[in-house]
Amino acid sequence: MKKIVFGNTAKFTRRKFIVGSAAAAGGGLALGFNPFGAIGEAAAQAANGGAELGIWVVVKPDSSCVIRIARSEMGQGTLTGLAQLVAEELGCDWKKVTTEGLTPNRNLAAKRVWGNMSTGGSQGIRQSQDYGRRGGAVARMMLLQAAADQWKVLVGELTVASGVITHAASKRSTTYGKVAAAAAKLTPPDPKTIKLKEPKDWTIAGKPMKRLDTADKLNGSKVYAIDVKLPGMLHAAIKASPVFGGKLKSVDEAKIASMPGVKKVVKVSDNAVAVVADTWWRAKTALDALPIVWDEGEGAKASDKTIAEHLKSGLAATETNGERIHGDAKAAIAGAAKKVSATYSTPFLSHACMEVGNCTVKLSDGKAEAWLPTQNLEASLAGLSTASGLPLAQCEIHRHDLGGGFGRRGGTQDYIHQAVAIAKAMPAGTPVKMIWSREEDQAHDFFRPISICEMSAGLDAQGNMVGFQMRLSGQSINAQLNPAGIVRGKDMRQLQGYYEAPGDAQLGYTVPNLLLEYAMRNTHVPVGPWRGVNTNQNGLYMECFIEEVARAAGKDSLEFRRSMMSKHPKHLAVLNAAAEKGNWGKPLPPGVHRGIAQFMGYGSYSAATAEVSVSPQGKLKVHRMVLALNCGHAVNPSQIAAQVEGSVAYGLGATLYGEMRVENGRMVDLNFDTYEILKLAEFPKVETVIVPTHDFWGGVGEPTICVVAPAVLNAIFAATGKPVRTLPIKDQKLTAA
């Protein structure tokens, strides 16, 4: 029988299993039940003979500790950060920590004791740090209690360091490994009653630990979903209607029937066709040779030009879909001493994860299994259930780290539906791996929404901004993926970064007369979250225009911003940090110019400076960027720097090259020859300045991307004397001033 030592039995909140975002593109599941019926509280099994202490930690006899990870790892380093936080409270030897990835099936069977597995919105650490740390503390308390019981001393007399428990008075010590088995017999304390360590006392968290998941990325042994091998597995290549909304009319199967390795041509839903063969290359070769007739539908009439017209209509619309209003901006601007206005725009972008879309499915007697890269394991489970028609308990998702995610692989489980449809067409028990070619991956993304933005500002005689007006017109992510997020026609998500409310994405300026409006203009192109969702476009619009206004006011870019930020000390502190490290106001080599920007998203404050030059031939070079970030607590400074560097690569690449053009209703840029990606030679020297204030938990993966483009564009403005208002830069002629 378990002995209750801490007065409280573990009680975990019964959360409903709701996979909200899957309900949109994934074909819909919102479940509020326990599909397995009544199951005991502790459905988790101990791993490999270790002792399970609470739900997050397993301790082995050699004192090595296995820390369980619920969130997906796609390169962002969450796995290591979460392990650090748990290990910190656990008090174990960091060198003996390994991790175990949880599956959604285990989570569901245990009534979701491990919480939400969704990994997006830069929430992996900030939304799990509290229960993760408590989980580590639970295990520590059990281990200490076991030692105290053994020595018959008070638990309060014990100390622990690196997994060694010491009773100083009697000069005794033991290890976690030695007391783990006894500890596992105790009932875990109530996590909610535990007092966590102060971050200033951290020794594992807050330190630049090496990642725990590097070794198998160096020798080819890491198995991504695209690498899965199963006995008897077949391979599928797929093509969906290149025009969004188009339908499959007919295919001439006979033309490819005799091609090597071909097993079957499968119509997938009403809009795609797949070829199944013994290898993927043969499947793809046959698919490329397959005559396909599409019913392209209305979408085929759309092009960049028609979409631009459509967006333009939003600038003049009287009805809007979200606004923020203070005072009377129109009147203030009309009566201002000086008026500035400009229109900016940003294009559709694909995510272009290095691992292309893929999904392996095996359907056998009453069971469905899938292997895929996913940022939301639970949405994948729900998607597998919907697509296969089998209850959740008969579905299984195999967990793989992702070769990139960037927002592409969240709730939208389009690939799982396709892969299930293909597997259904094959004999039961045959695993089929569907891989999208790069071209298919580029053609069928949930793209970064397109938008244009018209802004005007009024300056008084002293050059103070007395009025600011913005009209944003563009596509809505909620309209595509989460209609419930649009309340009475208002979709405030598209105004991310311009909010008045603090905490998440607050505008850092105070303007006496402010009018920010969003006009929804949807197109037939599917859109979705893209690293730095909405804030990367909105940051660019605001910060580039503020630069124009500062220049019109004849003021220094930094001082002009500062003058509007006294009510936003955190925004200001980060701006100051970037300015200081970026040597704002100090001389630069001839021909090199600086830009600056600040913005907030994902609960964190970001600012950047950029140093660029434009050659007499118009060639742009970004030399150096300094990015400052206040993410509240800095769990792993080295990985934060890695994410900041990553945001520069992603954001600067988009600034220079990123554009998904639409012609005849379909995407034009289907591979990296025209959808150019930033490479090493163009990567500037990036310096990360982390200025944590230790009073909140902010995100890391996304926040800094929103200042990358504006800092660079503002530096280009300084170099050329002309603002760049449309992205990408690649086709524009830059002329050094």
Binding site: N219, G220, S221, G404, R438, E645, A649, K679, E687
Partner: protein
């Protein structure tokens, strides 16, 4: 039936001669460390060495390779990840998602073989692999480290990430 010499072993591959070497390596030989990224020689994820030369295997046909040509993939680079480039990659903590890293490492090994002390400019020119996660700064640093150029010409990102409270 075409024969390939991969990592010192002769392999029979049952494929059409115009099959890209990449897919023969991944699907016939079963070595999946070599990655598909673009299929059109743009990204470098599929990089291997053939007779010591860096090649993008997605854009070579199996018939372009003779049985006597020595192909080395990431799996054949060393035992126990002991190649100096792999060690430097570990020391600098280069990978994020890791998907592009086989190719990055193969490219770096090739660069250092030809040019044991590359400058930043040499690295710019040689390391043209795409990394969507943006590990470029650490790739550069790790190449310098593997070359024995001190700890790289730049300070470690981690050390630079100054923390103030």
């Amino acid at each position: 039936m075409p024969k390939l010499n991969i990592n010192g072993r002769i392999r029979d591959v049952q494929v059409e001669p115009d099959t890209p070497l990449l897919w023969a390596i991944r699907e016939q030989v079963g070595l999946t460390g070599t990655k598909y990224g673009c299929g059109v020689a743009q990204c470098g994820a599929c990089s291997v060495h053939i007779n010591g030369e860096l090649q993008r295997s997605c854009s070579m046909r199996v018939s372009d390779v003779k049985p006597s040509d020595k192909i080395v993939t990431i799996e054949g680079l060393s035992r126990n990840s002991s190649h100096p480039v792999q060690k430097a990659w570990l020391a600098v903590d280069v990978p994020q998602c890791g998907y592009c890293q086989s190719g990055q490492i193969m490219a770096a090994v090739s660069l250092l073989k030809k040019n044991p002390k590359p400058t930043d400019k040499d690295i710019d020119e040689a390391m043209t692999n795409i990394c969507r996660c943006g590990t470029y700064q650490r790739v550069r640093e790790a190449v310098h480290m593997a070359a024995g150029n001190g700890n790289g010409t730049r300070a470690r990102s981690a050390d630079r990430a100054s923390r103030r409270s």
